[in-house]
């Protein structure tokens, strides 16, 4: 079982939930940018939620499916089609061997995830299949996909749902059930997004004006944004007095401010330590939202407390638990 890459898209790479436990040696975490969408995609095909998926950015690939496959697409809407026919997101889709899955124009979001039943059969490096692009390790030969690549897919026991889809399929090239899971993010037509943040340890060291500007003006995501971090432009954030910091640990969603005053949100491929003062921290529950914001869009930061951020995080995990239960029963053919 395998998938052949006919065209690779802008930046398509294998990502799972990341490479943890090695930051002390300077190895970054990487992994999916929108881990909520990534987990949903896996759950929809009955994989473990942390299985490796294909992360597709802004412009997706064309893929030839060289076997009958059960797959799921989540996250940003890259107008996926199978043999030219539009295919829905957020649900398991059984596809016939020989079909071409093609991603087209970006309709909403920024990144889309493709999970296949069984997962991609590639070796783990330091406990993860994620591609660490800069160090060229993990994923598919340590790099983004290229034309002609052949992605092996691991065989897995057939699901009851796949068997019933098979029966209804007839001569069509794909079939899907009448249920789906909601989007992982709020699609905004205005190109403005609200992102909730907690003031960070060095927040009080910023000037009173900068502290206000952080929440009273939007910041634009610049084109110098990638999987490592989003460089923002807007108000120039300044410290009250110069600060020489010893580099310290940074986390997913840390907003650091270099001397030029333009904040950077650190994301999946963030470095392990940073020496710039940190003004705020994006709430864990909003990281997936940030991951779906494309360059040119604007972010309004909203201040919340640590307790509120924890509550939002717990609520999101509870949502995933609920989805897991309902999806698993649907896949097993247990209808409510």
């Amino acid at each position: 079982m395998s998938i052949k890459v006919l065209s690779p898209g802008l930046l398509t790479s294998i990502q799972d939930l990341g490479r943890y436990g090695y930051q002390k040696y300077g190895v970054i975490v990487s992994g999916g940018m929108d881990t909520y969408a990534l987990r949903l995609a896996n759950l929809l095909v009955g994989n473990k939620e942390g299985e490796a998926t294909l992360e597709m950015t802004l412009m997706g690939p064309s893929l030839l499916l060289e076997a009958d496959l059960l797959l799921a697409i989540t996250g940003g809407d890259l107008s996926p089609t199978i043999n030219g026919e539009s295919v829905p997101q957020g649900r398991p889709v059984l596809v016939r061997k020989g079909s071409v899955l093609k991603f087209g124009a970006l309709k909403s979001g920024c990144r889309s995830y493709l999970a296949v039943r069984g997962g991609y059969d590639i070796p783990e490096v330091m406990g993860s299949k994620s591609t660490y692009l800069r160090a060229k390790i993990g994923g598919y030969q340590g790099r983004a996909l290229l034309q002609g690549d052949i992605l092996p897919v691991r065989c897995s026991s057939p699901l009851s749902l796949a068997e019933s889809l098979e029966k209804t399929m007839g001569s069509r090239s794909f079939a899907f059930p009448s249920w789906y899971v909601g989007k992982s993010y709020v699609s905004e037509t205005s190109q403005e997004y609200k992102v909730r943040v907690i003031p960070n340890s060095q927040f009080p060291l910023f000037s009173p004006d900068s502290r206000k500007q952080l929440f009273q003006q939007p910041f634009q995501v610049t084109t110098q944004s990638d999987r490592m971090g989003y460089r923002l432009s807007g108000a120039s954030l300044q410290l009250t007095e110069p600060l020489e910091m010893v580099s310290e640990a940074v986390a997913l969603g840390t907003i650091q401010v270099p001397p030029d005053g333009n904040p950077i949100i650190l994301l999946a491929d963030r470095q392990t330590v940073g020496g710039y003062p940190k003004i705020a921290q994006v709430a864990g529950a909003d990281i997936s939202t940030v991951a779906q914001i494309k360059p040119g869009s604007r972010i309004w930061f909203v201040e919340i407390s640590l307790a509120e951020a924890e509550r939002l995080y717990a609520a999101r995990e509870a949502d995933i638990q609920r989805i897991t239960i309902t999806v698993q029963s649907q896949l097993a053919g247990i209808t409510t």
Binding site: G90, D319, I323, T326, V327
Partner: protein
């Protein structure tokens, strides 16, 4: 006075039997369940509309169910009932166009709404070819299993 669960049990028994008309009087309560002579076309074997309406009627005590049912109409109406429990949504996501509007024509496979339960969205299809004449529930309402959602004028 019968309890709600007892009423439900009675309805279930009548529903599964071949009895066409059933009346029960007890102290101040009266239940009338009638399966015959009703204008609404029920195309599936799920809990019938009459059975559902019998519950509030019985709770009120006196009222005869047959009075609540409008006169037989010339055009047959199909009731789209909920196949599951969940929250009713007219559109696939907030701000999107609703799946169908009153007055719109639908085919058998036209999606008329989604019902969300435990974060899973279930699509509901019209089941018949015709025209939507009425929406019986509102966006965001919590819907019970078998609850009527839309009335459709079946194309003759």
């Amino acid at each position: 006075m019968l309890t709600f669960d007892e009423i439900k049990e009675v309805i279930r028994m009548v529903e599964q039997s071949s009895i066409q008309h059933f009346e029960l009087e007890q102290e101040t309560s009266k239940i009338v369940i009638s399966k015959a002579g009703v204008h609404r076309v029920q195309t599936d074997s799920r809990v019938s509309l009459e059975a559902l309406q019998a519950v509030p009627t019985a709770a009120k005590g006196e009222q005869h169910l047959a009075e609540e049912i409008p006169d037989v109409q010339a055009e047959p109406l199909h009731t789209i009932v909920s196949p599951t429990v969940g929250t009713f949504y007219m559109a696939s996501e907030p701000g999107a166009d609703s799946f169908v509007k009153v007055g719109e024509e639908v085919e058998c496979h036209t999606i008329v709404c989604v019902l969300e339960a435990m974060k899973l969205f279930n699509e509901v299809v019209a089941g018949v070819k015709g025209t939507i004449v009425e929406r019986l529930v509102n966006d965001g309402d919590f819907i019970e299993y078998g609850q009527p959602l839309f009335l459709v004028k079946i194309e003759s």
